[in-house]
């Protein structure tokens, strides 16, 4: 009996990926949200969130991952993040300067502190999530083209 080749890796990897994915996503979101009070921030959290989808792509194959998060979706996520970033920067003109911190600063080590920086972190997190995953998806695109030729 010839075994039909399934896309993706072995069942162990798939199970672990399924179990870990949501926790990783939550952790990435935590890192983004707590960027103003802990180490990390938009970039680090965004990378963790992007790694979740890259993990799914590695474990389940390209089609499975692109069903959960398409290339267009990645591009839109990055675009929304970038627009949000520029919009926050422009809102700073309300206080007279580009990128001015127009919200109250609050106290250090509290969650609601540092003015606009949490929002900037969220915007950057979206950008990094979208662009890193988009790049990875785009690079796999080349690979599949080659396979089709063979």
């Amino acid at each position: 009996m010839k075994k039909i080749k399934e896309p993706g890796m072995s069942v162990i990897v798939k199970t672990v990926a399924r179990l870990v994915a949501r926790v990783m996503l939550l952790f990435g979101f935590y890192v983004v949200l707590h960027g103003q009070v802990t180490h990390g921030g938009g970039f680090a959290g965004g990378v963790v969130m992007a790694l979740v989808f890259i993990l799914i792509m590695l474990a389940y194959g390209k089609e499975g991952a692109l069903r959960t998060f398409s290339r267009t979706g990645a591009l839109t996520t990055a675009g929304i993040g970038l627009i949000l970033l520029v919009a926050i920067a422009f809102t700073g003109y309300w206080r007279g300067h580009f990128f001015a911190n127009f919200l109250g600063q609050g106290w250090p080590f509290e969650f609601w502190s540092a003015g606009v920086i949490p929002f900037l972190n969220i915007a950057i997190g979206l950008v990094v999530l979208g662009s890193l995953y988009g790049i990875f998806a785009a690079l796999t695109h080349f690979h599949s083209e080659e396979e089709e030729k063979q």
Partner: protein, 500 residues
């Protein structure tokens, strides 16, 4: 706070915002990328004229990002030289964007072109307006990467090869610059350029670290500006890009990323020394001759123009490195003329390619009969670059040669005259092969390019023709003298700037 001062970051923010908007919506809505991509450079051109007016009135306009003052905050500022460059960049970029609206239709997914075009614009504006050394590096990388991607836009064999070469060499240049920045940061503990200049001046000359950083900057910015020992990427990369991007690369990027940054740093921050000046003179003269000689033997229209760019950049560096007021004036004026003229020539080469599908000069001939607008404007550009009297390029070359004689470099002056003759020879040869003579059989069906492409070429040709008018005293005071004053004053200028 003054209005220009308040809205100075828009030069970077608006192109970036436009690029993000296109990447979000542009691939769905047809026509939107073209509108955004054309209106943004045109609008910023008007704003750059306002900035020019403000700098002539107030000297320097500075915006404190986020309301933070130095030494903590990052500044965005414009002086005479910046405003001069901003006007050139936006004028050429607006014409090129207008041209691209029709030209880019032959490629798939034009929205990617506009996203990258606007990112290049943002990067160049960032390099021009920033007062912070590290931001200069960041914006330079943004512009270079977008340009590298655009060189590969056609994804054919040669385009990919040229883009790889361009990418590798520009990244190495950027890394040399980063090493230089690291050394200077270690020496001065500052990243603000004006403060850095003050500290370097206060610590006195003869520091080995500053010399070493200077060498790194020379290599790095030399790679970006394609001065002769570091020029290998230019003749491949510039012809391979789509015509509007060739015009941007040749007309603007090597000038704002290369020459502007080079002289801003060497004159305003590190301080010019006689040794450095003679190195630049030699490199400029070498670039002039190498470019002109290599251009003589080319059969590819765009490749010939790329070598011509190499030669003309040599003239600009030569003029600026003379260090005399006349030399700097001539160098800056030649920068303006070359930006306009070479962009025009690349656009006409693109038009010929658009209409006939070839870039080989020996396959063309007699195209002027079928494409009168392209032929005429191409001739105007060639005459401006070649240095025929009523055109702008003649006056700028004349000033540079006079300045060389005045500074006592008779040998270099003769060298420049000889190269000027060579320039005229190869450009006129190209014009004759492409546009004069009998029309070949296979080009009988060739038609003139669409209206917006013609309009863009005619605007640039008109500026080529009237470029010499900028030497009228009133206009000269407004435009050229302000920019020249920054470079003539050199480090004195950042003393004023640093006095917050």
């Amino acid at each position: 706070m003054m209005l220009v001062e308040k809205y100075l970051p828009l030069f970077v923010a608006i192109p970036l915002g436009g690029a993000f908007l296109i990447s979000l919506l542009g691939w769905k809505k047809r026509g939107l990328p073209e509108w955004i991509g054309t209106l943004i450079p045109a609008g910023l051109f008007i704003y750059s004229l306002v900035t020019l007016w403000a700098t002539t009135k107030h000297g320097i306009v500075v915006h404190h990002l986020g309301g933070w003052s130095p030494p903590v905050g990052i500044l965005i500022g414009a002086d005479g030289l910046t405003a001069f460059m901003l006007v050139i960049v936006h004028f050429v970029a607006a014409c090129v964007a207008l041209y691209a609206t029709d030209y880019i239709k032959k490629y798939t997914s034009p929205w990617i072109f506009y996203v990258l075009f606007l990112i290049i614009l943002a990067g160049m504006n960032g390099v021009l307006t920033t007062c912070d050394f590290f931001n200069l590096f960041v914006f330079m990388e943004i512009a270079s990467l977008a340009a590298c991607t655009l060189v590969a836009f056609g994804t054919e064999r040669h385009e990919l090869e040229a883009a790889f070469k361009y990418g590798v060499m520009n990244t190495m240049g950027a890394l040399f610059i980063l090493l230089g920045i690291a050394l200077l940061y270690g020496y001065t503990s500052e990243l603000n350029m004006a403060d850095m200049a003050n500290i370097i001046a206060a610590k006195g000359p003869g520091s080995k670290i500053v010399t070493m950083a200077g060498v790194f900057f020379l290599v790095g910015f030399g790679l970006k500006a394609a001065l002769v020992p570091f020029h290998a990427w230019l003749p491949d990369a510039h012809p391979s890009a789509p015509a509007p991007i060739s015009a941007i690369l040749s007309g603007l990027i090597i000038k704002s990323l290369g020459i502007y940054a080079l002289f801003r740093i060497f004159i305003c921050v590190l301080g010019m020394t006689p040794l450095l000046s003679s190195i630049f003179l030699f490199m400029g003269a070498l670039s002039m001759a190498t470019g002109a000689i290599m251009a003589m033997g080319q059969t590819d229209f765009k490749r010939l123009l790329a070598y011509s760019s190499l030669s003309q950049v040599g003239y600009i560096v030569f003029g600026l490195a003379l260090g005399t007021p006349l030399g700097i004036l001539g160098g800056l004026f030649h920068l303006f003329n070359h930006s306009v003229g070479k962009s025009l020539l690349f656009l006409t080469a693109g038009s010929v390619e658009y209409a006939t599908g070839t870039r080989k000069l020996n396959e063309m001939g007699g195209l002027s009969n079928k494409m009168p607008v392209t032929g005429t404007s191409s001739l105007a550009g060639a005459m401006s670059i070649g240095g025929i009297p009523p055109f702008g390029g003649f006056f700028s070359k004349l000033i540079i040669i006079f300045a060389a004689v005045q500074a006592g470099h008779i040998g270099y002056a003769i060298w420049a005259v000889g190269t000027g003759v060579l320039t005229l020879v190869y450009l006129m040869k190209a014009m004759k092969q492409a546009f004069r003579g009998a029309l070949a059989e296979r080009w009988q069906a060739v038609r003139e390019v669409p209206m917006r492409m013609r309009l863009a070429m005619l605007i640039l040709a008109f500026v080529c023709l009237t470029g010499g008018l900028l030497l009228i005293p009133q206009l000269k005071d407004l435009f050229l003298n302000q920019a020249a004053k920054v470079l003539i004053d050199g480090r004195m200028y950042s003393k004023i700037w640093g006095g917050f």
